[in-house]
C-alpha cells in the first residue's frame, strides 16, 4: 500500500521524460504539470470538469487533469500538448480555423488525438460525443468540426 503525507516526491513520466517532483497529495495533476513541471500549455479554465481546457492523456486515456490528483497517477504515462506529435491534426486546426484565441485549443487537440487514435473512421455522432466534452467560446465549433474531420481524412466542404 502506498501512503503519501505532507510534501512527497513522486515520479511523473510526461511526454516520455521522467520528472521527479515534490507535491502535496492534494495537488491536482493540472497544477503540478503547470507549476511544478513548468509545462504551461495545459490550461486552467474552470477546475470543475466542465470546460476541458485542462485535457491531457493519462496512459493514452483522455482526461481532465483538474479532476485528478497527481499522486493518483504517479508511474503512469502522461501526454500533454507539448508532447503531441500529430502534425496532421495540428495543421488541420490551422488550415480549417479550429481556433481563434487559442485558449481551448490544447484541450481540444488532446481530445481529438485520443479520438483519432481510437479509429480514424469516425461518424458525426462519435465525434460529437467526444468533442462535446470541451467548450469553445470563440469559433462556434464550425472550424473545430472541419479540422477534426480533415485530420480524420474525411471530405470537408
Amino acid at each position: 500500500m502506498v501512503k503519501y503525507e505532507g510534501n512527497v516526491t513522486i515520479t511523473l513520466l510526461i511526454n516520455s521524460e521522467r520528472y521527479s517532483v515534490v507535491v502535496r497529495p492534494a495537488d491536482t495533476l493540472l497544477r503540478v504539470v503547470r507549476e511544478k513541471v513548468g509545462l504551461r500549455g495545459t490550461k486552467i479554465g474552470c477546475e470543475n470538469g466542465d470546460c476541458g481546457a485542462c485535457t491531457l492523456l493519462v496512459d493514452g486515456v483522455v482526461t481532465k487533469s483538474c479532476m485528478v490528483l497527481a499522486v493518483e497517477v504517479d508511474g503512469t504515462e502522461i501526454t500533454t500538448i507539448e508532447g503531441l506529435k500529430n502534425d496532421r491534426l495540428k495543421d488541420a486546426f490551422i488550415s480549417e480555423g479550429g481556433f481563434q484565441c487559442g485558449y481551448c485549443t490544447s484541450g481540444y487537440l488532446m481530445n481529438a488525438e485520443a479520438l483519432l487514435r481510437r479509429t480514424p473512421e469516425l461518424s458525426d455522432e462519435e465525434i460529437r460525443v467526444w468533442l462535446e466534452s470541451n467548450l469553445c467560446r470563440c469559433t462556434g465549433y464550425e472550424g473545430i468540426e472541419r479540422a477534426v474531420k480533415r485530420a480524420a481524412g474525411q471530405k470537408t466542404q
Binding site: G41, G45, C46, K90, I94, Y103, C104, N134, Y141, E142
Partner: protein, 785 residues
C-alpha cells in the same frame, strides 16, 4: 517575370492569410497572462459576499493573518476610493456594504495559492442583510432602497446623467420629430414588452492580473486585458502615480468579448502588491469568481410602441429601454447610452421618443459586452417589428426592407447617413434566399414537428469616445522585413493578422515578412484607445497605412540620392525601391532601411521608422435632451435568420441553419471574417436560447458555474451560412468596416421570431428554453391571448 512585378499583382488583402500565432497556439506555446510568473510571486485569494445586499458589520482576520505563509490581509478600508471608467462607483474591495452576491470583501496574499485560499476560510465577516433590490421593478419602485446612497458624490464624465435619489445611474434620451404627429399618421400600431435576465461573457481564459511595484514606485502589471492603456490611465489616477511610471503588459488574451475591457482585477492587484512592499502579486479569478464576482452583461426590460402606415412605412417609435446593470454601473452607463443612441436600429423612422436607462439592482454587475447595448436594443426593436408584421399581415422581410435606412436618411440622432451606408436590403434578401424563405416559413412535418424560420436586421457603430485614437509604428529589420508595433491586443479576433496583411499589401511583400509585436507593453507600443468596439482593424488599419506611407516617403527620400532621381519617380514594392519607369534601376530595401552606405563608405539615411496615427473623425457627443449628434464612426449593418425544427409536444428544438449577411465594406481575410461572424452567432445562440443568470429570492446567483450557466457545446451548433456585401466605407482601410461584434446581434430576434411562429404565440422574453416554447405552444392551443 521581373522581380519588381513578382508581388505587385498578388493580392494579400482579401485572402486567407494564416494567423501568425497559429503554430504556437496548436503547440501550446503561447504565453497567456497566467503562464508567466515573475520570481517571488505571491498569490491572492478573495473572500466574497454571500449576500446580495448587506451592511458589513465586521471583518475578523486574525485567524488568517496568523497562518504561516500569509503575508497580508486586506479589506475595503485599505482602499476606500471608488474607481470607474465613466462613473466612479466601485471600490476594488467592498466598503461599508456589499451590493451583489459574490462581491469581493477581503483579500489574502500568501506565499502559495493554497495558503491564501485556506486563509480566506479563516476570515469571519459579519453582515446585516438589507432588503434586496431583486428586479428592475424593485429598483424603480416608489421608495425603493437606494443601492448607492452617495451617488451625488460620484465623479463621472459629463455625458453621463445619474438621477439623484434614485437607482438610475444614467438616462439617455432620444427626441426626434414629433411623436404625436407620428401616431396620428399611423394606420396601425403595436405595443409590446420584452425582457431578459443578465448573463456573462464566459471567455475560456478567466481574468488574471499580476502586479508589482519597483523601488522607485514604477508599477508593472501583466494582465489579461483588452485595454492596456485604459488600465494604465486609471491606475495612474487611482493611485496618484505619474502615468509614465505605470507599465501595463497585455499578452495574448484567451477571449475578451468586452469582459476584459476597461479595468478589471488590475487595481486590486496593485493595491495588494503595494501592501506587501511591491512584491509581485497574482490575482486570478476562479471560474466562479470570473462569472459572478467579475462583471457580466446587463439584463433588459423594454417597452416598444410602433406606428406604421398600411404599406409598412414606420411613422413613429416610442421606446423605453431599461438596462439591469446590477450593483455597479461603471461601464454599463455607456452601454445603455449606446443602446439608446443606436435606436431604432437600421431603419428610418421620422418620429422617435426614447429613453434608455441604466439602473442599479443587487444583481451581478455589468460591464462592456460584445454588442455594447445593441443586443438589447436590437432584440426589443426586432420583436416589435415582428409584432407589427403580424398586425399588418406583412412579410417580415418586406417590412424590414421597406424601412431600411439608406443614404440620405437620418438616424435617431438626426445624423445624415452618407454614401458609406451599407446595403441592408441586399443583406435581408440574401439571408431570406439562403433560408429558402419563399418556400414557406412554417411547415409541419410528417412526424408532427414544426419547421419555422425567423429573420432580423441589426446595426452597430463603434461606441467610442469622440477622441478615440490609434497609432502604429513600423520599423525594419536588416533583411527588409517589417516590425509592426500597435496598441491593439490580439484576443482571438485576428486583428494582428489583418494588420500584417494591410502592411504586406501596401509594401507588396509576403505577410510572413511583417512581424506584429505580440505582447502590448504600454511603454513601447504607441497609444491606442483599447481593443473593443469593433474598431481595431479600422482605426489601427488606417494608422498602419499611414505608417507605411510615412516609411515609404523616408525610403524614397533616402534612395533618391544614390538612384539620382526625384522622389516622385520612385516605387517601393517587393522589398525594393526602384524607378517606376525603369524597374531594374533600384536598390534592395535591406540596403536602405537601416542605412545606405556608398561604395566609399559615406553613409546617409539611418533607420527608417514609419509613424502612423488615426483619430476618429467628426464624432460628437449626443445632446442631453434629444440625443442628437454623430457618435457613430461607421455603421456596420446586416441581417440574420434561423431555421428551427420544434417538437411541439415538449418545446424542444434544434437550430438547423443560422444565416448571416453583413455589409462590411471590404473583407480583409475571408476566413478570419467568417470566424468572427460564426463565433458571434454561436454566442448569440447561447444568449438567446439558454444563457442567463438565475437569482434566488435574495438576489443570490444560483447557477454560477459552467455546469449550471450553460454555454453552447459542440454538436449543438447549426449549419452556419455567411455572406458579405461590400459597399465600401470610403474612410476605412481598403474600404473596410468593423465586424467583430455584429455577429452577436441578430439571433435573439430571429430565434424568437422562428419559435414564436412555430409555437403559434409570441414569445417575448429570453432565454428561449424548451419549457418556454412548450408553455407558449400550450398557451396558443388553449387560446390564451
Amino acid at each position: 517575370m521581373r522581380r519588381s512585378e513578382r508581388l505587385s499583382g498578388r493580392q494579400i488583402v482579401g485572402t486567407n492569410v494564416a494567423r501568425a500565432d497559429g503554430k504556437d497556439k496548436v503547440a501550446g506555446k503561447v504565453r497567456y497572462a497566467d503562464d508567466v510568473w515573475p520570481p517571488g510571486t505571491l498569490f491572492a485569494a478573495l473572500v466574497t459576499s454571500p449576500h446580495a445586499h448587506a451592511r458589513i458589520v465586521s471583518i475578523e482576520s486574525d485567524g488568517a493573518q496568523s497562518l504561516p505563509g500569509v503575508r497580508a490581509v486586506f479589506t475595503g478600508a485599505d482602499f476606500p476610493h471608488r474607481l470607474g471608467i465613466y462613473l466612479g462607483d466601485k471600490s476594488p474591495l467592498a466598503n461599508g456594504k456589499v451590493r451583489y452576491f459574490g462581491e469581493p470583501v477581503a483579500a489574502v496574499v500568501a506565499e502559495t495559492e493554497a495558503d491564501a485560499v485556506e486563509a480566506t476560510h479563516r476570515i469571519r465577516v459579519r453582515y446585516d442583510e438589507l432588503p434586496t433590490v431583486n428586479s428592475l421593478a424593485d429598483a424603480l419602485a416608489e421608495g425603493a432602497p437606494l443601492l448607492h446612497e452617495q451617488m451625488d458624490e460620484y465623479t463621472h464624465i459629463p455625458d453621463i446623467h445619474p438621477e439623484s435619489g434614485s437607482n438610475i445611474a444614467n438616462r439617455t434620451k432620444v427626441r426626434k420629430g414629433n411623436i404625436e404627429k407620428g401616431f396620428r399618421e399611423a394606420e396601425a400600431e403595436i405595443e409590446g414588452e420584452f425582457s431578459f435576465p443578465p448573463g456573462d461573457h464566459a471567455a475560456m481564459e478567466p481574468r488574471v492580473a499580476i502586479a508589482e511595484i519597483g523601488a522607485d514606485e514604477r508599477v508593472l502589471i501583466r494582465t489579461s486585458t483588452q485595454a492596456p492603456f485604459v488600465v494604465r490611465d486609471l491606475i495612474s489616477r487611482a493611485f496618484e502615480i505619474p502615468v509614465g511610471k505605470v507599465k501595463v503588459v497585455a499578452p495574448r488574451v484567451g477571449g475578451g468579448f468586452g469582459g476584459k475591457a476597461g479595468i478589471q482585477l488590475e487595481a486590486l492587484a496593485v493595491l495588494l502588491s503595494r501592501g506587501v512592499g511591491g512584491r509581485p502579486v497574482r490575482v486570478a479569478n476562479s471560474r466562479e469568481q470570473d462569472l459572478v464576482s467579475s462583471p457580466g452583461r446587463p439584463g433588459l426590460f423594454a417597452r416598444v410602441r410602433l406606428g406604421a402606415r398600411r404599406d409598412g412605412k414606420l411613422t413613429v417609435a416610442k421606446v423605453l429601454l431599461i438596462y439591469d446593470s446590477g450593483a455597479y454601473a461603471d461601464y454599463a452607463v455607456n452601454v445603455s447610452r449606446a443602446g439608446g443612441f443606436s435606436l431604432p436600429g437600421p431603419y428610418f423612422i421620422p418620429n422617435i421618443e426614447a429613453d434608455s436607462l441604466c439602473v442599479y439592482t443587487n444583481h451581478t454587475f455589468a460591464t462592456a459586452f460584445r454588442g455594447f447595448g445593441h443586443v438589447e436594443m436590437t432584440y426589443a426593436m426586432e420583436r416589435a417589428i415582428d409584432h407589427l408584421a403580424v398586425k399588418l399581415r406583412m412579410d417580415p422581410v418586406q417590412l424590414r426592407i421597406v424601412n431600411a435606412i439608406r443614404a440620405g436618411d437620418t438616424t435617431g440622432g438626426n445624423a445624415v447617413m452618407d454614401r458609406n451606408t451599407g446595403n441592408l436590403p441586399k443583406c435581408l434578401e440574401t439571408v431570406s434566399e439562403r433560408l429558402d424563405w419563399n418556400k414557406g416559413t412554417r411547415t409541419i412535418l410528417e412526424n408532427g414537428c414544426v419547421r419555422a424560420k425567423g429573420i432580423s436586421a441589426f446595426w452597430k457603430a463603434p461606441a467610442i469616445p469622440t477622441f478615440t485614437d490609434a497609432s502604429v509604428i513600423i520599423t525594419f529589420n536588416e533583411d527588409g522585413s517589417v516590425n509592426l508595433s500597435t496598441g491593439i491586443v490580439e484576443i482571438g479576433q485576428g486583428s494582428h493578422t489583418g494588420l500584417a496583411q494591410i502592411v504586406a499589401e501596401k509594401l507588396a511583400i509576403d505577410p510572413s515578412a511583417v512581424h506584429v509585436i505580440a505582447e502590448i507593453a504600454t511603454d513601447q507600443a504607441p497609444h491606442d484607445w483599447q481593443t473593443a468596439a469593433s474598431r481595431s482593424l479600422f482605426m489601427a488599419g488606417r494608422a498602419a497605412i499611414a505608417a507605411v506611407d510615412d516609411a515609404v516617403a523616408q525610403i524614397k527620400q533616402i534612395a533618391s540620392a544614390p538612384l539620382r532621381c526625384s522622389v516622385e519617380d520612385l516605387e517601393v514594392a517587393g522589398n525594393r525601391v526602384y524607378q517606376r519607369d525603369d524597374p531594374d534601376h533600384g536598390i534592395p530595401l535591406p540596403d536602405v532601411v537601416v542605412h545606405y552606405v556608398y561604395p566609399n563608405g559615406n553613409t546617409i539615411g539611418g533607420p527608417v521608422i514609419g509613424r502612423g496615427k488615426y483619430v476618429a473623425r467628426g464624432l460628437t457627443g449626443i445632446d442631453e435632451q434629444t440625443g442628437a449628434g454623430r457618435p457613430g464612426l461607421e455603421w456596420t449593418m446586416g441581417s440574420q435568420g434561423v431555421e428551427v425544427e420544434v417538437d411541439p409536444r415538449d418545446g424542444s428544438y434544434r437550430i438547423l441553419r443560422a444565416a448571416c449577411c453583413m455589409d462590411v465594406g471590404r473583407v480583409i481575410n475571408p476566413a478570419l471574417a467568417r470566424g468572427q461572424i460564426v463565433g458571434g452567432m454561436a454566442m448569440s445562440i447561447g444568449y438567446a436560447a439558454r444563457e442567463s443568470f438565475h437569482f434566488d429570492s435574495r438576489g443570490r446567483v444560483v447557477n454560477g458555474t459552467l455546469r449550471d450557466y450553460k454555454l453552447l457545446r459542440y454538436g449543438d451548433h447549426p449549419e452556419y451560412i455567411v455572406d458579405f456585401v461590400e459597399t465600401p466605407q470610403a474612410d476605412g482601410p481598403f474600404g473596410l468596416r468593423g465586424l467583430g461584434e455584429q455577429g452577436i446581434l441578430g439571433i435573439p430576434g430571429a430565434l424568437s421570431a422562428a419559435l414564436s411562429l412555430a409555437a403559434g404565440r409570441q414569445i417575448d422574453s429570453l432565454p428561449l428554453t424548451p419549457e418556454v416554447v412548450w408553455r407558449a405552444a400550450c398557451g396558443a392551443s388553449s387560446g390564451e391571448p
